[in-house]
Symmetry: C2
Amino acid sequence: MKAVIMAGGQGTRFWPASRESRPKQFLQIADSGTLLQETVARLGPLLGREDVYVVCSERYLPLVAEQLEPFPRDQVIVEPMARSTAACAGLAACYLKQRFPEEMMVMLPADHVIRDVKEFHETLRAGEKLGREGWLVSFGIEPSHPATGYGYLRPGEHLGEFAGRPAYKVEQFTEKPDRARAAQFLEEGNYYWNSGMFLFSVERILSEIDLRMPRLGQALAEVEQSWGYPDRLKEIFSPLESTSIDFGVMEKSERIAMLPSDPGWSDVGNWKALEEILGVDGQGVASNGPQLNVDSRDCVLYTSGGKLVVLVGVRDLVVVDTEDALLVCSKDRTEEVRKVVESLKNKDLKEYT
Amino acid sequence: MKAVIMAGGQGTRFWPASRESRPKQFLQIADSGTLLQETVARLGPLLGREDVYVVCSERYLPLVAEQLEPFPRDQVIVEPMARSTAACAGLAACYLKQRFPEEMMVMLPADHVIRDVKEFHETLRAGEKLGREGWLVSFGIEPSHPATGYGYLRPGEHLGEFAGRPAYKVEQFTEKPDRARAAQFLEEGNYYWNSGMFLFSVERILSEIDLRMPRLGQALAEVEQSWGYPDRLKEIFSPLESTSIDFGVMEKSERIAMLPSDPGWSDVGNWKALEEILGVDGQGVASNGPQLNVDSRDCVLYTSGGKLVVLVGVRDLVVVDTEDALLVCSKDRTEEVRKVVESLKNKDLKEYT
């Protein structure tokens, strides 16, 4: 099995720490390494380094090289243009098909946190077996609250045990429901969050793309003839729509299976996620550096260089400090940070993005 | 007339910008110069440089020299120890007495802001005339709210016009009343805030100190014999209590006069004062640098180096950023910043004070 790490994201919800020049996956958020480094590291010893591939844009080649050193250049797949995860998966499958046409591949976001590596490995082992039977494998995380940022999976038919773990056909895949619908799912029970990790055979994902996204399938057929010609690859990618693999394939396919898993997963979706990742103190404050708290509660603090943060009489804030920009955000509005980055671009403050 | 600028304060309520190594008066808060530089500059052309004296501790001699360059060393009066404003005024009077025993002196805090220099000069001219008649002159600012951090003056008997301005005997001087009393003063009307600037003759302040603060008077008599002997001066100052000139002299003396004045004065008492000094925008935000405001109101932002501050969905915050420390404080609790500095000292975080 090969792992394909998707490192092409912009991570704008992690502004101002995440910048165009160094997006979230290249930052050290909680652990001793950057999110990308941790994503690669946690694959061992299940997979060797030679089985790990990274997809990113040309711009981030130096960061990948620096952070994963030594990492063979032919295990980095350069996206001609960012065209979301369906094109990313298709491109990676095309690339792997050249040498491993029968191989299984697991697609992993470069910017997630997983705490229980043993559980993660066991799930991947089960996923590999399930994938070899022709399924597109998703991993279902038990939902803790009616989040609107995730896809929801409803398991149906029991497909048997794989490496000792139960697998289910996915009866319904609902990408990013609204709040009311998400709440209804939780009330009904038997729904899972889609983790954003997928596992399938090279052959299967390419045939599903041909079936569900024929324009992308056509583009990938041209890609196969164009390796080594970056300008041609750009021409092929340029007219493609940005469609996630969730919308483009998973919601529509009839060959989706699910393995329930509890690997201590977080998609580190926005600054609020640091509460879980860093943990909170007795006053509900999560911080990556020194702090002094006077009568304050339930804040998230993220600074660089060990800066001291002093809070006096405040609550429910996210405070993120970097060298040239400082964010102070109500904790229930962390999703809006993405829009801040758009605003900065429109307001001639592009230097801060 | 001589001006004596009191530059010995710690400015702890302006932490983290104000540090022991560089207190508030040595910072550029609003104008093009530091508060000390502006305090000196606004005396001209009423007074020449040769009429301006600065009192500070030995530690701040290099800062004074750097900021007022060129400034003759014999116009800097070194406080042997910080013992509050009564001792400071007495020391300065002793110093001036050596060369100008009949002279008038005006005591000016180094860390105030005054916007209307013309009004300020006119008031000082009137004050000089009033002082020459033996009064201890205070300057009364019309109160805008029941502040508890100021002294309150109640004018009584009209003493006549001085340089075209009415002067009054002060009938009652109440230093820092509680909130209820301050509110009562405002309701009654005919109360003024004491500006913290005082004007008197060298002779008069020394005789008032002898009368009202005999221990300080005794110490000053010894000081007169000890110029040029820093260790001896320290010995004399060391046992003195720290008493403000307001408590020690002004509240008790029967020779206090007041000139009402409206020179656009602010004592820059805490971070909230920046609302008036910097001015606020349409969303009530006062800032000394670039900001992007998403749905936020009524904040005070102070950063160094032109850092961009982005606010999302917050209100009534004070945010102060420096190289190694960041303060986020509820706007109605800015007075507590002083206690933060004490806490830091007690918590082994003295490096940040």
